[in-house]
């Protein structure tokens, strides 16, 4: 669901704090009604970018346009954006009702109308009757909802969310993810969501921008980010990824043959990166795309012999770590659990073989 109509345009935006380059020449567009996530490790510049959208920071370079309007000289209180803060920033001296109605006060609505709007908002966030509570009487999840309602009653064109679910426990976070998505569909406004939690970004977003060290590395849908990362940093950051390094031996139509050294011959399907013969490349394979074999198969490409290492039990699946001769890192292999067997299917130290299809891997340049 990539929105076609551009609503926010970020053009060559950079931000430095002294010598530190927080955001470095970033350009991209966000569509109207899109759920757009900025994902990256802490310190990657995602929050700074969000704060520039809100108007709390001014770009050192470049320009931000919202709905075609340049935002350079527009104060935060005059922007069509509202923000849900990381710590929620609920006003401690006001009760829930006054918090939610805060942004409406300057409209000088009649009291009955204001109350109706706030009651409606309390209904939406499933906290009816909480109007007279004080913020310190609310749980983390409830504060989060109040912050959301407070921003939404102002009817912003863009809602900015700065890691709003970070402080919640896992169960509640998953609930809120679904709820946020639902609310976004209902109100149909553009959401810009900052998170360092990849799972969160993958489940909720229409598109995700992966950021690192102030730069945007890749902007794509969740599935494309996961299945076809465009560089090693993205591949490493999202999920678990195995990398096999080698030198391109031949490029033949849909197949690229790679000399993996001690790993033997590796075959890759076509990826976005088009290598030339003799180039050093990385083959990236997800753990769930590797097949674990207990007996030696017929020799061929994409076949690695190794020794079973430790198992990481994750409940819904296990990651086995296989050590292959001549490969510096342990290789992660995911296995589905189709039975309730508590026994490990392979013993530690046992010889195993790994195998994958050329289409299962992504070919990346060595950066």
């Amino acid at each position: 669901m990539t929105a076609s109509e551009t609503y926010i345009s970020i053009r060559g935006v950079g931000k430095s704090f002294g010598a530190f380059q927080a955001v470095d020449d970033v350009s991209f567009d966000i569509g109207r009604g899109e759920f757009f996530s900025l994902l990256g490790p802490s310190g990657c510049g995602k929050t700074t970018l969000l704060r520039m959208l809100a108007g709390f920071e001014q770009p050192s370079r470049g320009e931000i346009l919202i709905d075609g309007q340049p935002m350079s000289n527009v104060a935060p209180n005059r922007r069509p954006t509202n923000m849900v803060f990381q710590n929620y920033a609920i006003f401690p001296h006001l009760d829930v009702r006054a918090n939610i109605g805060y942004g409406l006060a300057r409209l000088r609505l009649p009291k009955s109308e204001l109350n109706a709007i706030v009651d409606q908002a309390l209904e939406t966030i499933k906290l009816p009757g909480y109007g007279s509570r004080r913020p310190d009487q609310l749980s983390g999840g409830q504060r989060q909802r109040v912050a959301l309602a407070r921003a939404l009653v102002c009817k912003p064109k863009v809602l900015l969310l700065d890691e709003p679910l970070g402080a919640l426990d896992k169960k509640l976070r998953e609930e809120m993810q679904l709820e946020l998505r639902q609310i976004q569909r209902q109100v149909g406004i553009t959401f810009v969501f900052v998170t360092h939690d990849q799972e969160e970004a993958l489940t909720m977003s229409d598109r995700i921008a992966i950021m690192a060290k102030g730069k945007v590395l890749q902007i794509d849908t969740a599935t494309r980010i996961y299945e076809t990362p465009n560089c090693r940093t993205v591949a490493e950051f999202i999920g678990t990824m195995n990398f096999f390094d080698g030198v391109v031996k031949a490029v033949r139509g849909n197949e690229i043959e790679i000399d993996g050294g001690p790993l033997g011959t590796l075959l890759s399907g076509v990826s976005e990166h088009r290598p030339v013969t003799g180039e050093r490349v990385s083959l990236a394979v997800r753990p769930e795309k590797l097949r674990l074999l207990k007996s030696a198969p017929a020799p061929g490409p994409n076949m690695i012999a190794g020794r079973m290492g430790p198992e990481a039990y994750l409940g819904d699946r296990s990651h086995y770590y296989v050590e292959a001769a001549g490969h510096p890192r342990r290789i992660a292999v995911a296995t589905q659990k189709l039975t309730r067997s508590v026994e490990s299917c392979v013993d530690e130290g046992q010889g195993v073989w790994l195998n994958w299809t050329p289409e299962a891997c992504v070919l990346l340049p060595v950066s």
Partner: protein, 264 residues
């Protein structure tokens, strides 16, 4: 229980210490009801005479009014200025922050005597301003401002900046944000600053002595009365009332503070 009331050296020290602190203060109310103009034991009998005399003492009432006017004005001005200073000093990026802080707090370490002479010279010799309550007020603002700034800075320092950002984000101007978020949250600090400045100004003697001209403040009046032994019981009555008033004020503000803490 026995452990709480062990009559050892430390206990004795504590008792003596408390006596030393409070006995002089408690002598005031005691002798203000004593039916004798001499401050001496044994007590002669109970009387309200000194309180009656005090109420009829025109110059005393005038001095009390002067001091109240002065202290109220000074505390309001200093708290307002101190709030603005604190707002600036607690900004995340402020070039020259240490220098500014140092300059703002300097009057704390300058002897009041020096300050008084300096102000007197400036007022009389340079600007030729007649001495009055206004000149005392100006001196007191100088004296109280560092206290107000300190109290309010410490209050605003523990302050979540994103609350002000949230207010701006929700469409309020910087000015309205100041009134709707900053001031209510700084309120305990504002009250503390008002009380502190009031107290400092109310019993300040040295600057007032230099700068008041013939508009005496209460401390000046009381000092002038000490020359007349028969006026002393009246001063004691006045002192007792001030004591009672400040006790009630402190108790009240403490009670308010605890209500606030409990509400959180």
């Amino acid at each position: 229980m026995s452990r709480l009331f062990r009559f050892d050296a430390l206990f004795l020290y504590a008792v003596l210490y408390l006596l030393f602190l409070y006995a002089p203060v408690l002598l005031l109310p005691l002798f203000s009801f004593n039916d004798s103009i001499y401050i001496a034991f044994p007590l002669k009998g109970f009387t309200f005479e000194w309180y009656r005399q005090m109420a009829e003492n025109g110059p005393l009432i005038q001095a009390l009014q002067n001091s109240l006017k002065l202290a109220v004005t000074v505390s309001i001005i200093c708290t307002a200025l101190g709030l603005l200073a604190a707002k600036g000093l607690t900004r995340p990026y402020l070039p020259g922050k240490r220098l500014i802080t140092g300059l703002l707090l300097l009057p704390l370490v300058v002897p009041v005597l020096i300050l008084g002479i300096g102000l007197l010279v400036i007022a009389r010799q340079i600007f030729e301003i007649p001495l009055s309550l206004f000149t005392v007020g100006a001196g007191h603002v100088l004296l109280c401002l560092p206290f107000a700034t300190l109290v309010l800075t410490s209050r605003l320092e523990g302050f979540d900046r994103s609350l002000e950002e949230a207010s701006l984000d929700l469409g309020e101007s910087a000015w309205r944000t100041f009134w709707r978020v900053t001031v209510p949250l700084a309120l305990p600090g504002i009250v503390a600053s008002l009380l502190l400045c009031f107290t400092i100004s109310f019993d300040e003697f040295v600057l007032a002595f230099f700068l008041a001209g013939n508009e005496a403040t209460l401390p000046m009046f009381i000092f002038s009365q000490l020359r007349f032994p028969n006026k002393l019981p009246g001063v004691l009555a006045l002192g007792s009332l001030i004591l009672l008033f400040s006790f009630v004020a402190v108790a009240l503000s403490e009670w308010l503070r605890r209500q606030d803490v409990q509400a959180k």
